[in-house]
């Protein structure tokens, strides 16, 4: 039996997020996540890699999923609402990501645009996947956020850079780096580079 249930073409990744579950995924799989996502982008990655860590009672990064996202947040009474929450470009976190995957045993990283060799290797070694959300699709993705469960570092990092705890349901992503050493980004880039060579030849001198 498959590790993850497939509904309408998308594998359902639900809590608890485990190594077995993410290792069952491969490049090109469409996935829907239900559970908690923690946002983290430039400032948080730098801060974590400097050796800092939020208090566990507030944010538990262990075995979690980090989402490269700086949402638009509005406060309605006591509650926060994410009114726009698409992914930001992941490659900026490449210098930090592998270490953070190892340190916290991250099970997935969500972002856009793909990541590099160090992250690909860390995914393979520690059992993590890189999940690509559709960049710019801030409304489709915000609709899948069912509640905002808290925020850490709002004053220190500012709203787009803070760690937001987002409870999501059927959050749509595509696996572009799996836990077996495969990267869609690497393949597409190599193939398009080959094609570009012949286009350049055609243009001529």
């Amino acid at each position: 039996m498959a590790v993850l249930e497939n509904v309408g073409g998308a594998f359902q990744l639900t809590e608890p997020f485990t190594e077995e579950k993410v290792r069952s995924l491969k490049v090109g799989d469409m996935v829907e996540i239900s559970g908690m996502l923690l946002t983290g982008r430039d400032a948080v990655h730098k801060w974590l890699s400097d050796g800092n860590e939020p208090p566990k009672a507030e944010v538990n990064l262990q075995n979690s999923i980090i989402y490269h996202c700086g949402p638009v947040m509005m406060k309605k009474g006591k509650n926060w609402i994410a009114t726009a929450a698409g992914p930001t470009t992941s490659i900026r976190e490449e210098p930090y990501q592998a270490k953070i995957i190892e340190r916290f045993g991250l099970k997935a990283v969500i972002g856009k645009g793909g990541m590099g060799e160090k992250t690909r290797e860390a995914c393979q070694k520690f059992g993590c996947v890189y999940l690509h959300a559709v960049g710019g699709a801030a409304q489709v993705l915000a609709e899948r956020i069912k509640s905002v469960e808290g925020v850490y570092g709002l004053d220190t990092f500012g709203s787009p850079e803070a760690i937001w705890k987002l409870k999501v349901e059927r959050f749509p992503v595509v696996v572009t780096i799996d836990a077996h050493g495969n990267s869609l980004h690497k393949v597409v880039e190599a193939e398009s580079a080959e094609k570009l060579k012949s286009v350049v030849e055609k243009i001529g001198k």
Binding site: A85, V134, G135, A138, V174, L196
Partner: protein, 297 residues
């Protein structure tokens, strides 16, 4: 400016910001729709294009930002000669503060020295305002919101460039543009639209490349050589197989828009700006009383 004009202009400006942030212009949406039809059923590319189209619909219905990165705020305006321009600038800033409070714009302006977010999108260089007085008694306000993801994949080349095999001619220009597409891969949130300037200096070249995004996707360049290059770059880029979000696929570019500025003999720049599919550009003509008379896109 009397109080009524000030109030009307402020409200009209907030409305321009709202509409720009939440609604994709029709010419862009039609182009995305035709790209979606080309992608193969069941592919990641089709999946991405379907999500993009759903997103456009939801953002418009809810009047919320198409993309959470509401980007650099770039105004292109014409105003009547007699206008107090200093006051107009203040009104624009006030409208941005209001639009940020309403959630049409994310808090998106960061002090480059301290790293502190100003919280209201105002600060040195924010917003960007290109303004010119004109002889008409109406105001023309165009607005572009350009996200950081696509801004980061822009590129400037200085010809000759041996790395891309580009000499100091139009063939060299075309090679540079395609190289920029290859380097961008999916990082600029494709399918993208390119704005290109041949010539100028490093500053004017980039500025002019961005202004190309004020042109409609469907328009045709008046210069026949540039028109030919625009078509050729788009066609060739779409053979590279980068596809929506870099997932692989047929739709890598929706359009290419090229302009040229004179250069000094020693310099030959090619400046390439990349616009994501969430191409937020709108404009309106406002009456002498500051009320919106007509939308431009």
């Amino acid at each position: 400016m009397n109080k009524t004009l000030q109030k009307n202009l402020h409200d009209s400006l907030v409305e321009v910001i709202r509409k720009t942030s939440a609604e994709l212009p029709n010419d862009v949406f039609e182009s995305i729709e035709s790209g979606r039809k080309q992608e193969q059923e069941g592919s990641s590319a089709k999946y991405a294009m379907n999500i993009i189209c759903d997103n456009v619909e939801i953002a418009k219905r809810k009047s919320q930002p198409l993309c959470q990165d509401t980007g650099t705020v770039l105004f292109y305006i014409h105003f009547p000669m007699k206008t107090d321009y200093e006051l107009l600038q203040k009104l624009i800033k006030k409208a941005i503060v209001s639009a940020t409070k309403k959630g049409y714009l994310r808090q998106n302006s960061v002090d480059s020295i301290t790293g502190k977010n100003s919280g209201n999108n105002i600060g040195p260089g924010a917003p960007v305002i290109h303004a010119e007085p004109w002889k008409k008694d109406t105001f023309e306000i165009k607005l572009m919101l350009k996200g950081g993801g696509c801004e980061n994949v822009g590129a400037q080349y200085s010809l000759p460039d041996s790395r891309v095999g580009a000499g100091r001619d139009l063939k060299g220009v075309e090679k540079c543009i395609l190289d920029a597409v290859q380097n961008a891969q999916g990082k600029g949130c494709g399918p993208g639209i390119l704005g290109v300037c041949i010539g100028g200096d490093r500053g004017t070249g980039y500025a002019a490349s961005k202004e190309q995004f004020l042109r409609k996707i469907t328009d045709k360049n008046k210069n026949p050589e540039l028109a030919k290059m625009e078509e050729s770059v788009t066609r060739e880029a779409n053979t590279l197989g980068i596809g929506p979000m870099g997932f692989g696929g047929k739709t890598t570019l929706l359009a290419t828009k090229i302009t040229a500025l004179n250069r000094v003999p020693a310099s030959f720049f090619v400046s390439v700006s990349y616009m994501c599919w969430a191409f937020r550009r709108q404009g309106a003509v406002m009456s002498p009383k500051g009320e919106i008379k007509k939308w431009l896109y």
